[in-house]
Amino acid sequence: MSLHRADTLGGHAAVAGIGATEFSKDSGRSELKLAVEAVHAALDDAGLTPADVDGLVTFTMDTSPEITVAQAAGIGELSFFSRIHYGGGAACATVQQAAMAVATGVAEVVVCYRAFNERSGHRFGSGLQSRQPSAEGVAMGWTMPPGLLTPASWVALHAARYLHTYGLSPDVLGHVAVADRRHAATNPAAYFYRRPITLAEHAASRWIVEPLRLLDCCQETDGGQAVVVTSVERARDLRHAPAVIAAAAQGAGRAQEAMTSFYRDDLTGLPELGVVARQLWRSSGLRPEDVDTAVLYDHFTPFVLMQLEEFGFCGRGEAAAFAADGGLELGGRLPVNTHGGQLGEAYLHGMNGIAEGVRQLRGSSVNQVAGASAVLVTAGTGVPTSGLVLTADG
């Protein structure tokens, strides 16, 4: 990867398997157990066994270490293990790590996983109480005493400036909220299964942190999701057609912070995703119009709009009109989050979105985009982040 030149990672590795636990509000079991179940499910999906695995990648935020997952999942020796930082920003980067390991021969089969009891255990939305005086703690510490304590509050402070700059009402966020729930409504795994919402319901939902309403916020979920990465050649011999990793990128912006980048530029964009977008387009050789569907990280609706702009699907300040015009819906200009997203399906820190990207290429999504052959997937927004372009083989 490079800030300045196309990289050569694309085309070497593929996602060969995806697997998840059920998504619930109370899993009734440990986070480690969820992780092991997800890893097994993904290996089964690929037609591989624990004995085939020589690499594991997860998030620094995950509580289940690679070695413990290996120990409990029947995985033996590991030649590669890695963790990515910055919350949901890690999601696509776990696949990038795996692809780099596979492309260089460091490992042959790498499983990326994320599992937590984010609803029945520690809820991110319950609010920070304190932080250690590390560099990271100090960075977060500036906003705690005045009362920005939750992810919703950090995102809202960006969103308020975005809406103000473009003269938009918070109601425009409803187009994202509605599109995701409409997709979730046909997805049996989704929390919003059979429960589409209307713009009026969005506008009537209670404020969480104004300008964000309840229906602008993602689910809180217990569950685990894993994906299996191996070489394209090996993937061709496995159970499903490979989802080729055409490009993978990480990005951090200048003066980047984790959720609290309030002190740079004009707060109307996501510069770290701009870094990711430049690399993905350059390295994949694709352009926005070549993408059939996208999974855009949606812990909160406003950052979905900003991502459309950062990736060039529309101009600056035009995303609300793009969404209002049905652009995110099936049959629209860019069907987004066809599984329902984290707003509608489940909040799995972006890993469930990678799985949906794979399903679209396999033709097995509950909201299949006909003939989808190129999918964009993004990871956590407001933090140092990552993205993938997945394409059909051949």
């Binding site: 005086p133 560099a135 510490g141 906003t143 705690m144 005045p146 209670r206 309030f262 707060l267």
Partner: protein, 426 residues
């Protein structure tokens, strides 16, 4: 209980009251020292002292005492002053003797309040004065002003529901301090908002970091912000609502300072929905508990009074009570205050009124005269806290008259809100 309280309405509560002392320099000086105010020039008394000259038993009618006895017998044993509305027809000068009469204007039906259940009793006093020192006679007295005073005679709610001592309240998250940003918090303690400036390239920066993002330089110095800024972005937090933040929706703003750096802070002195992007604001500091002081911002502009912080020392509360000749034990004796259910002594309404007067005259300077102060008390003011005044012009008349809305808040909430009318001369 069915009390015959309406019968008291219209009956006199003070008849032919005479101020025990003429308006005099020592009492004025004592008052000004207590309030932290400047002694007015030309022998004029601070207008908010009006009631102080009338304190004592002179002229007290049996009707008022009988009303109080009846309410006490009915179980409304506690009393708290809630409102004070004064209009000043003319200044009072040293040497004048004050005369006053008052009536029981109204006795409310039984009301349920945060403090307890009881009846509001409102009295209205007319105050006159004559220049005794210059040999004038009582018959030559001319109107000085009117004074409407409202108290609540009440039966306190259960102890658990009483306002708690400030020390036991949940506290806001603590600042996260290490070697890289200690200088910032030292600045806050010194009443300054300090940002960094790179010695190599001159770029101002916030948050605090040991090096410059613009050039990588590691040499820097701290500068104190001028305090002017504007709201760059703003949210209103509705959920979750930690008790430490008052338990109701609150505004958090990203303020861009005149120097170009931004900081996340609360905007105080304005309702959350009144804080808007682009609004000019002015730096202040607010104490939230014994150890936490934070920079805050107040709405700014020509129609805004600069904020004033008044530390609520025990000395201020006691000396204010004594300077206003209010010897109620709850204002100076902590043991007796606790016996009556309060966590500590608390400020009397006359002192609050005096501080409101001081806040306004600090802003107007000597060329203006206060014509009226009307205040309502909210939460009590206990020692160890801090009172933070903010105010804005709500009306500008053509004859130099200005109406101000004033608020004084402390850790428990809004202690006083009210209206002050001032008239600027020439």
């Amino acid at each position: 209980m069915n009390l015959e309280l309406e019968a008291y309405q219209g009956l006199p509560s003070t008849v032919a009251g005479v101020g025990p002392d003429p308006v005099n320099a020592p009492m004025i000086r004592h008052w000004c020292e207590a309030m932290g105010d400047t002694v007015p020039p030309d022998g004029v008394a601070p207008p908010a002292m009006l009631q102080a000259w009338t304190m004592g038993q002179s002229g007290r009618s049996e009707h008022f005492d009988s009303l109080m006895r009846e309410l006490e017998a009915a179980g409304y044993g506690s009393v708290v002053a809630t409102d004070c509305e004064q209009e000043y027809a003319r200044p009072l000068r040293i040497g004048e003797r004050v005369l006053f009469d008052s009536v029981i204007e109204s006795v409310s039906a039984e009301k349920h309040t945060a403090l307890g259940t009881g009846h509001f009793v409102t009295t209205r006093m007319n105050v006159r004065a004559y220049d005794e020192a210059a040999g004038e006679k009582p018959g030559e007295a001319t109107p000085v002003g009117t004074h409407r005073f409202r108290i609540l005679k009440f039966r306190p709610t259960g102890k658990g529901e009483r306002p708690q001592a400030v020390d036991t309240r949940p506290r806001r998250p603590r600042p996260v301090v290490n070697r890289d940003n200690a200088g910032y918090w030292d600045g806050v303690a010194a009443g300054e908002l300090r940002f960094q400036r790179c010695d190599a390239c001159g770029t101002a920066r916030f948050p605090w970091l040991p090096g410059c993002n613009a050039c990588g330089g590691d040499q820097w110095h701290a500068e104190a912000a001028s305090g002017d800024g504007a709201v760059y972005s703003k949210v209103t937090v509705h959920h979750p609502l930690p008790v430490a933040f008052g338990g109701k929706p609150y505004a958090v703003a990203l303020v861009e300072l005149a120097e170009g750096v931004r900081i996340v802070a609360n905007v105080v002195g304005a309702a959350a929905d009144q804080v808007t992007i682009g609004m000019p604001v002015r730096l202040g500091f607010q104490r939230f508990d014994e150890e936490l002081v934070l920079p805050v911002f107040h709405p700014a502009g020509p129609d805004r009074l600069p904020p004033l912080r008044v530390p609520l020392t025990r000395t201020l509360i006691v000396s204010g009570a004594i300077a206003s000749r209010d010897y109620q034990d709850v204002h100076h004796d902590a043991e007796l205050a606790r016996a009556k259910g309060a966590p500590d002594i608390f400020m009397n309404i006359l002192t609050t009124n005096g501080l409101v007067g001081r806040y306004v005259t600090d802003w107007t300077g000597p060329d203006a005269r206060i014509e009226a102060i009307a205040i309502r008390l909210g939460v009590p003011a206990y020692p160890g806290d801090e009172l933070q005044f903010s105010g804005e012009v709500t009306e500008r008349g053509e004859d130099g008259r200005t109406v101000l809305a004033i608020r004084g808040t402390n850790r428990l909430g809004v202690h006083v809100s009210g209206t002050v009318k001032v008239r600027r001369h020439g």
